[in-house]
Amino acid sequence: MLSDHTVSILIFAGIDVIMALSFYLPASAGQLSAGQGGFMALGAYTAAYLTVQHGTPFPLALAAGGLVGGLVGLAVGFPALRLRGLYLVLVTFGFGEMIRVLFLNAPAFGGPAGFAGIPPATTVWHVLGLLVVLLYFFTRLSGSRMGRAFAALRDDEAAAEAMGVNSTYVKLAAFAAGGVIAGLGGALYAHYTLFIDPEAFGVGRSLFVMLYAVFGGLASFWGAVAGAAILSILPELLRWVKDWREIFYGLLVLTMMLVRPQGLLDAALLARLFPRGERAAARG
């Protein structure tokens, strides 16, 4: 019932939303990661390697991709304990680059030539299914003990610790969970494109993921969803402007940050959209 073209737009937009959520999760605890492309690469390569070399069933490979993303997220979380603000952004940025170069130099994964022959497995329903699960998870998270600890840590680390938030544990959990989501996104991506190479997960990917979430607004996970959906479908709608596409895209981001630096969905707009004072809105 859907044309192939529509399906491909939906799948790529859905994966972008998943990736934006993977950035949002640690960001909601004040941990800005500019290396989500690295976690995506880990998930994509892990899952693809399993299905191609070992004939692992897709759901299992998907889970493995998420698991590896989460474990590495935990490992990256450790340096994050000492760093804040810009320094954290740059270290995670460096992490993303290292993962890319790692795969570039790994012959078992095809190196610069890429990893081909991945069986087609991802359907639009897989992507939408994962999205529904994630949205449920985020809805539950924002009112939970952990979600409140994230928000407290983001707003004021010292005050959060004084209130009994274990910042080490919470930060590591945030990074690991972000890694799991990005790993799942990568595994889905690999089994739709059927070919992956390290360049697909480079600096550009990491920065765009960040851009999606910030464009939508970091006040709630709905911001990441809206930002990624709009910014990844927009280039499709802008096809007719050809060479001017990047110019429009850049101007749009520029204007957004000038006019609404807090992003599309800010606390005030969320309060209007969810008038009964849902938790996401109340958190601001």
Partner: protein, 297 residues
């Protein structure tokens, strides 16, 4: 080549590249010092500088000196415009929205450069002989040496400007404390404009020199990503640290490319500096030369 000569060659070659990195890194640091803004588009500014100079050389037929002068005039005008129209209303924004802003600017500049400079070659013909100069058995390419000399002269001039001139003193005052600088009668907006004019000049110089050395502007935006390990190593607010960091990263990359890349495969040299960056931040979370109070959340 004997072992020692190879080592000397690698160090010299790295130092030559480091001098150009230093120009790009300085373009980043002067902005950070003045306004605490993280310019993720510093590579795009360098690209713009190179393309403008190249366009001046190809369409008007100017020599390298004239091309750089026209390029500087053009890019400085753009930088001032950017400062006046985009940055001035934004002086009090969060770290993240400023990062996103520079990303947007970077995307815009890349798109605009493709449209504006369509059909204009990015290459700038090097006026220097191609044969390498052999010093004590170590081959060094002439254009790299000339580029390094020019870059070093610019760094020296910039250092003098910050240390010795009255405007430089005012810029350091702004970097140290905006409120106090304002109180002693320093016009902040005028000095932000001067900072961005410096960015324009540095971008054109770095971009043009890089085009000479690399034989074309391909991938010049990526030069911007070299800047982050450099400025973190050097400490974000230290000009001297930045210059040391730039040479250190240049030499490190060259050594790793010469000794390690043949063993583990190409490309490792590009992340070696990030590995050092992460190691440094474990020991000194504010860089080698930076002050501990630079973090901003």
């Amino acid at each position: 080549m004997p072992d020692l000569a190879y080592l000397v060659f690698l160090v010299a070659d790295g130092a030559l590249a480091g001098s150009i990195y230093a120009l790009v890194a300085l373009a980043f640091v002067v902005v950070y010092k003045a306004s605490r803004m993280i310019n993720f588009a510093v590579g795009e500014w360098t690209m713009l500088g190179a393309r403008t100079a190249a366009a001046a050389s190809h369409t008007i037929g100017l020599g390298p000196g004239g091309a750089v002068a026209v390029g500087c005039a053009g890019v400085v005008a753009l930088a001032l415009l950017f400062n006046r129209i985009v940055l001035r209303p934004l002086s009090r924004s969060s770290l993240l929205s400023l990062i996103m802003l520079t990303l947007g600017v970077g995307i815009f500049m890349r798109g605009a450069a493709t449209v504006v400079f369509a059909g204009v070659p990015a290459r700038i013909a090097s006026p220097f002989p191609l044969d390498p100069l052999v010093v004590a058995g170590v081959p060094l390419s002439v254009d790299k040496i000339v580029a390094a000399v020019i870059a070093t002269a610019c760094i020296a001039a910039l250092s003098w400007f910050f240390r010795g001139s009255r405007t430089g003193l005012a810029l350091r005052a702004v970097a140290s404390d905006q409120q106090v600088a304002l109180a002693v009668g320093i016009d902040l907006h005028r000095h932000f404009a001067i900072t961005w004019a410096l960015v324009g000049v540095l971008s054109v110089l770095a971009g043009t020199l890089w085009s000479f050395v690399s034989g074309g502007g391909f991938g010049i935006e990526l030069l911007g990503f070299k800047v982050f390990p450099i400025v973190i190593l050097g400490g974000l607010d230290s000009l001297a640290g930045t210059i040391v960091g730039a040479f250190a990263v240049g030499i490190l990359e060259s050594l790793v490319a010469g000794y390690v890349d043949p063993i583990v495969g190409g490309g490792f040299s590009h992340v070696a500096s990030y590995l050092v960056l992460i190691a440094t931040l474990f020991v000194r979370p504010f860089g080698l030369f930076g002050r501990p109070d630079v973090e901003r959340v």
